[in-house]
Symmetry: C2
Subunit: 269 residues, 2 copies
């Protein structure tokens, strides 16, 4: 798709979201789709699907420091559709985001799309980390993996870091959300910024109950914010320094000084 | 979905598109999804799917008098995906609309979503037809039905009436596109405006080659513009006067003085 006529605000399709300058304001737009069997298991409560659908898109707005304006939803009509609507109500209410529009279709297996629109002041891209920057992450890593196995809420009901994103955006060099795995997403930021990301496994703030730390660092769905900030930066929100950016080398990512031993995370089809 | 927290610009989800006032400008936003077996037949050239996906969304912008700014696409990765990308290139180039962003997923059968964003000066809603208004339609009706059978371009490659929509928008009382059937869409405009739409079958400008006129009036996919304008209005673009709005009565639509004898058009699931 990168060879198509792109809007300048598409940023080469290399960022989490597009930006659109309108009448002196900056809009941030993102569209993510989720499908049964790919992003959630068959039999998942449609209310949880609705929550996740909206939350993962709001997370992209959070990563660009944007305040949500509204969402448009494309939804398959499913059995117990009233549960989908209830989940939508819960997530829209939780983040004070109104519905702007949408479409329903009848198809099987179910697929859901969401376009989220927000407004932002300063938009940090994922391409602007600099050698010498520190690499930080909000919250904990691995809660989604743990709860996927144990049935807890972190996997099904991620919490987009909207307030944190807005607080961080004016101060950081680069920011993105952790959706496909901390290691993979950090390597993407490094590659996009023409740097090497050097991480220390011991520095990563794993969630309580996480046993396989390397697996958790390669799992996705945490929707924490990963950001690059100048040395000495004191984050205005809870965050942990997990590494640093250095000059580009043969690998985009070094974990404890060496390329990681296995798959970095979830690669989209 | 109408019971959810709605943005004021969602217009109760009763219109073709949402509006958003940003920095003194009015944005128009719409999201439609299409699925294999529902909106197109299995085996359709992915280039045609891409064209139709974008065209039907641009048609909603046309109906609100909007100039497209960009689109976001959510696409299933299909066999011969390069044809999908080629079709996207064709439709984006044809209407000078850049890609703002998107997402790809692996699911089967295929589902495609598109969010289109435009800017508009005057936005005609579908709720503002008034008794005494004339009812008009651009172009011809039935070309999509004819070409669905004969393999012609009108069904697979509809042409959104963007220029016509922009020319008409400042002058009409109400406007919408004909996506689900002229009779059904006219009855929707009448109901939304608390009027009766009175149409004459002989007045409808059927496309050459259409034999079953009543079936063509109930078929969708023509993507012409249907609009209500004050008596005596002289349209700035080619259009045909097909009826008038009168005070509300027991039926929202009268065809040659009586409720139509059969299903009005394509009702979404």
């Amino acid at each position: 798709m990168r060879t198509l006529p792109l809007h300048a605000g598409a940023h080469g399709l290399l960022d989490d979201a597009a930006t659109l300058a309108i009448g002196g304001e900056t809009l941030v737009l993102t569209h993510d789709a989720i499908a049964e069997g790919v992003h959630y298991r068959a039999g998942t409560d449609p209310a949880d699907i609705a929550w996740k659908l909206v939350a993962v898109n709001l997370s992209d707005l959070a990563a660009k420091g944007a305040e949500p304006i509204g969402v448009l939803i494309g939804a398959t009509l499913v059995e117990h559709n009233e549960r989908f609507v209830e989940g939508l109500r819960e997530v829209l209410t939780a983040y004070a985001v109104p519905l702007l529009g949408g479409d329903t279709i009848a198809t099987s297996p179910a697929v859901f799309g969401c376009t989220a629109i927000g407004r932002a002041a300063a938009v940090p891209h994922r391409t602007s980390a600099k050698p010498g920057d520190a690499l930080w992450v909000t919250g904990h890593i691995g809660a989604a993996m743990r709860d996927f196995a144990q049935g807890g809420p972190a996997y099904l009901r991620p919490r987009p870091r909207l307030a944190e994103g807005r607080a961080l955006a004016p101060h950081v060099h680069a920011m993105m959300d952790v959706s496909d795995g901390l290691l993979l997403d950090a390597s993407r930021m490094a590659r996009a910024s023409n740097c090497t990301a050097e991480l220390s496994l011991d520095a990563i703030p794993f969630a309580p109950g996480v046993e396989d730390r390397l697996a958790a660092a390669a799992w996705g769905d945490d929707y924490e914010l990963l950001f690059a900030a100048p040395k000495g930066f004191a984050p205005p929100v809870p965050a942990t320094r997990i590494g640093a950016f250095t000059a580009p080398g043969p690998a985009a990512l070094l974990l404890d000084g060496a390329p990681p031993p296995e798959k970095l995370g979830y690669e989209h089809g």
